[in-house]
């Protein structure tokens, strides 16, 4: 594919995103809630699509395709298990986040923890854990875009150009108009992702195999090993466990539980997201199987999708490229916006509570620029360590799960329990990842998650729960019962 084609595709896509962002900005009001949460007035379809686009990054059409290519059907099991737990968590925690967020005017998930545990340092710690885990993860989105652009053009468009365009596209909509703009562009990006991937997989079926039925028959005949589930349990649990809790522990998605305009919209959000995830997961794994049949013996499984793209007509390759680019930029834009809200609400406001909403917004916009520059810096280094830090992200964020679940369901849960579990659990999990030590063959999230849970319970039992903890849970329960949600 020529460099000019890729450049035209990226510029064209940027223009579309900017037009959508401009339209979204017209309805934007003043204040932090408006900027960070779209005024809690996002409708069901857009809520669902922004949730999907934020969740599903370039990992799906690059990493998951590669995982399927190399290790077969277990990749589908891993991703479907994630989806199952996410919709179940949304069923239980969606209305709870939404009701509490409205009642206390929370903008960030750590703020909710700070309120429940009556301790601002719980919110501060949750924000810091999120920064440490999500900045390298964001950098990997940029690295992925850079490598994809460079690989598809045979080096005609340098790695750094891909990184810069991605950073610009992701940042500009978020900086310009906050959540309204991000959610609208996410909706367009999610539709692009699903439509392009459906077109492409159908083309692959008919072009290379004759029909979908022939594809299934061919693969079953020639590569039955890919359809057998032979993953070691420690590997399956190790990568699935942190993702199972993704909906709760990743602030860029849990913050989206605050944005629907009403409960009916939240229901639509859950169902649209679930439908999207189900279809997109199946398509991504089918690409992996198809690549294994068409181009076996690749040294690097992660190059399966780019190698497959190279065998498609240019027009179709560009369409898929735009879909992958959209997936990466929507995830990055959402993370940057969420991290900027965590920075202003849970870090700066803890240190300077008197800050005005206007200053808060300006500070958030500045923080987004700094965050993107940091991510560009990380990405340009292309350190192997970043890959380790990125894979650490979901495992590291798992340490927040007990404190989040306890906040809603356990009156005895204390700030000391939350702080101890997040700090010690986070340090232990990160240390295991960085040293590569997997005791007894089990992955760091298993040890970190277990230790975090034990610490949270033990420390909570020997310390005093906040005076308002019972009221927090009782009031929420009463509201759920009044709405017949419990």
């Amino acid at each position: 594919m020529s460099g000019a084609t890729i450049i035209i595709a990226m510029v064209g896509w940027t223009i579309v995103a900017l037009l959508v962002a401009a339209a979204a900005r017209r309805g934007m009001g003043e204040g932090a809630t408006e900027f960070f949460l779209g005024g809690r007035r996002i409708r069901g379809f857009v809520s669902g699509m922004t949730y999907a686009a934020t969740t599903y990054s370039a990992f799906m059409l690059v990493g998951l395709v590669g995982l399927t290519y190399a290790r077969g059907v277990g990749a589908l099991g891993f991703e479907m298990t994630y989806l199952i737990f996410t919709v179940l968590f949304l069923l239980v925690f969606g209305p709870r986040f939404w009701l509490v967020g409205k009642r206390y005017d929370h903008i960030t998930p750590p703020e909710l923890l700070g309120t429940r545990y009556e301790n601002k340092w719980v919110a501060f710690t949750a924000a810091i854990v999120s920064f440490v885990m999500l900045i390298p993860y964001s950098s990997v989105q940029l690295i992925g875009a850079g490598l994809l652009v460079e690989g598809l053009t045979g080096g005609a468009v340098p790695f750094f150009v891909g990184v810069l365009v991605m950073a610009l596209l992701s940042g500009i909509t978020a900086i310009w108009a906050g959540m309204r703009s991000v959610s609208w562009t996410d909706a367009v990006q999610a539709l692009t992702m699903i439509v392009t991937s459906v077109i492409a997989i159908l083309f692959v079926f008919y072009h290379f195999f004759g029909s979908p039925g022939e594809f299934f028959a061919t693969l079953t005949e020639s590569r039955p090993d890919l359809l057998e589930f032979d993953w070691p349990p420690a590997f399956f649990v190790g990568i699935t466990l942190p993702w199972a809790f993704f909906a709760l522990t990743n602030p860029q998605v849990s913050q989206r539980l605050f944005i629907p305009d009403r409960l009916r919209s939240m229901r639509r959000m859950v169902l649209y997201f679930a439908a999207f995830g189900f279809l997109y997961t199946i398509i991504s794994t089918l690409f992996g199987f198809a690549a294994a049949e068409i181009i076996p013996d690749l040294e690097n499984p992660d190059s399966a999708m780019p190698a497959l793209l190279a065998r498609l007509p240019v027009g179709l390759s560009v369409i898929i490229f735009v879909g992958i680019f959209a997936a990466a930029s929507s995830t990055l834009g959402s993370i940057v916006l969420t991290l900027s809200s965590l920075f202003t609400r849970d870090v700066v406001k803890v240190l300077r509570p008197e800050i005005s909403e206007r200053s808060e917004r300006l500070l958030a916009q500045g923080a987004m620029v700094v965050l993107l520059l940091l991510c560009i810096g990380f990405a340009s280094l292309q350190l192997g360590l970043i890959a380790v830090l990125s894979s650490m992200a979901s495992g590291g964020l798992l340490v927040m799960a007990p404190a989040i679940i306890g906040a809603f369901f356990w009156k005895r849960a204390t700030a000391a329990g939350a702080l101890t579990s997040m700090i010690i659990g986070g340090v232990v999990t990160a240390s295991l990842y960085l040293t590569g030590w997997y005791p007894l063959g089990w992955w760091p999230p298993v040890w970190g998650g277990g230790l975090t849970t034990v610490l949270f319970i033990a420390v909570s039992l020997v310390t005093t729960a906040p005076a308002g903890a019972g009221r927090f849970i009782d009031e929420l329960t009463a509201e759920l019962e009044a709405r017949k949600l419990r």
């Binding site: 099991g77 199952i84 179940l88 069923l91 239980v92 359809l227 409960l263 169902l271 679930a274």
Partner: protein, 59 residues
């Protein structure tokens, strides 16, 4: 949904989701084995959530 109901449901689904492919379908090299199973169980959970959220109304 009450917390305890969710806990029981999550444990049961997790057990089925992991144990069936490992214990029954692992050695079957067909789309009708683990691939089909995971699609069906996920779809079943999504349908269940669709039914369970019908009560999410605003008045």
């Amino acid at each position: 949904m009450k917390g305890i109901t969710f806990l029981v449901l999550a444990v049961v689904i997790a057990a089925i989701d992991i144990l069936v492919p490992y214990l029954i379908l692992a050695q079957t090299g067909s789309f009708w084995a683990s691939f089909f199973f995971w699609c069906v169980i996920t779809l079943a959970v999504i349908v269940y959530v669709g039914i369970a959220t019908r009560r999410w109304r605003d008045n």
